[in-house]
Assembly symmetry: C2
Homo-oligomer: 271 residues x 2
């Protein structure tokens, strides 16, 4: 682990990331020592900084530290946390700010190998996402809603839980974005009031049209999920998981033409 470039796993207990969730994070796949989708992750991180009024990081320094931290790792995960640092008076941010960065590489999660091909089983979480356009989309450090949702089940066979917002709209999984397919139309929830705009979600949106899929970003409800032909989940580490079952409803696997998921995965792990 690197904290502000120093190899340590200790952080100032004054850090505003701890006190207020005052910061952002990114989680990246690492293949052969290279952090994947780097430009997209940095773009989202900088956008989050702008939204929160945190100085944008020196992304070349972050890249240098990312490579120091991941070394020759053949396959792994890199988490980057960027906080507003210490200081300020209560909630009021310090001026000037001295952001704090934490980089941590860890081993690839041991998800069952067949989830990526045969699909996963989903549940619907009771925990809801609150509505707050100011924080929607960005990957800020306040993740209690996801923690509570992920606490709801222990069954190893259930890969992920869908989260609704307080209005009953389907938003995302606890750690993934959601897409539905109906014929050659693709749907993904609009994230203006809550949710995280994932980088692989963005990639799917960029690739859909060329694959002959018409994309709609819209409000979705559970009835839409149950009426879909197929569904899949995305994030930077898993890439793409087809959904084979949601609660007691079976869905089509493969969720999309294999050529599409293959070209998506090629980009996820190499761009």
């Amino acid at each position: 682990m690197l904290v502000n470039g120093i190899a340590t796993d200790l952080l100032s207990a004054f850090d505003r990331g701890l006190h207020y969730g005052d910061g952002l994070f990114e989680t990246l796949a690492v293949i052969d020592g290279i952090p994947c989708l780097w430009e997209r992750h940095m773009r989202r991180l900088c956008l989050g900084c702008d939204r929160l009024g945190i100085h944008r990081p020196d992304t070349r320094l972050l890249r240098h530290e990312a490579e120091r931290e991941t070394g020759e790792m053949p396959r792994g995960v890199l988490k980057i946390i960027l906080t507003r640092g210490s200081g300020g008076r209560g909630y009021r941010p310090p001026n000037p700010q001295q952001a704090c960065r934490v980089l941590h590489a860890f081993s690839w999660p041991d998800y069952p190998a067949d989830w990526a091909h045969r699909g996963v089983q989903l549940r619907v979480c009771d925990s809801r996402l609150g509505l707050n356009p100011t924080l929607a989309g960005i990957k800020h450090l306040g993740r209690l809603e996801q923690v509570l949702a992920r606490s709801e089940w222990d069954e190893p066979a259930i890969a992920e839980g869908l989260m609704l917002d307080t209005e009953g709209r389907v938003v995302e999984g606890t750690m993934t974005n959601l897409f539905l397919r109906k014929g050659d139309r693709l749907y993904t929830p609009e994230l203006g009031a809550c949710g995280t705009a994932g980088v692989v979600r963005e990639l799917v949106m960029d690739l859909a049209e060329d694959a002959g899929l018409t994309l709609s970003v819209t409000h979705l409800f559970l009835r839409d999920v149950f009426k879909a032909d197929a569904a899949f989940l995305t994030n930077s580490v898993i890439g793409f998981w087809p959904v084979k079952r949601l609660e007691d409803r079976d869905l089509e696997v493969p969720a999309v033409p294999p050529a599409f998921s293959e070209s998506l995965l090629a980009k996820v792990y190499s761009e």
Copy 2:
């Protein structure tokens, strides 16, 4: 600063408080080395633990550490952070959990002396509070909404900003609870969907009736604030601030009969 009973200002960078805002905090006034309203603060902390599924702390140990940290401090502030500790797999909490506690005593904030008597000036913040009943009321570590609201102004004459929720209801100040008075009726916002249920707010609610004030806990809008005879703010450190001005509207000072605010303050700093 004490981290798990050890005098240090460093914390594990794996802590879930940093990664997910997965924890709670309390801010207490300290008078002559004694943390004020201790029982009420511990009750709220334990309630928050129950809501988040964090093990309740050993409050006798916390009290022992609080006294070690505050020493003979004649007047100061003690912040207690309790997190779910480290571990788990992503958002999923670890099992078993090993909570982490951080206690930090610091000097009394240098608010102008006349704010407590002559009243303070308020603004209305643009930043809104999201709606999430699961997290409403408790003092969890995800405070980005307050950080953004408190970033909105620099004017030293403005003591506090009122925050509305995304539906336009008035909820609280960035660091205080709000009460309005109209005749002998007292009103404070209902906190079922957002906001923090302050311990001094609770104390006011307990004392109001004996002081001849009829209390309503209800939805309030800006028009209610502008139509009130008087308003005041509460928290554990300031105790009680009358509001003399909200944006361009003057309000009555004293906000409540002096006997009421005096008996309130006597309890805030001695119970």
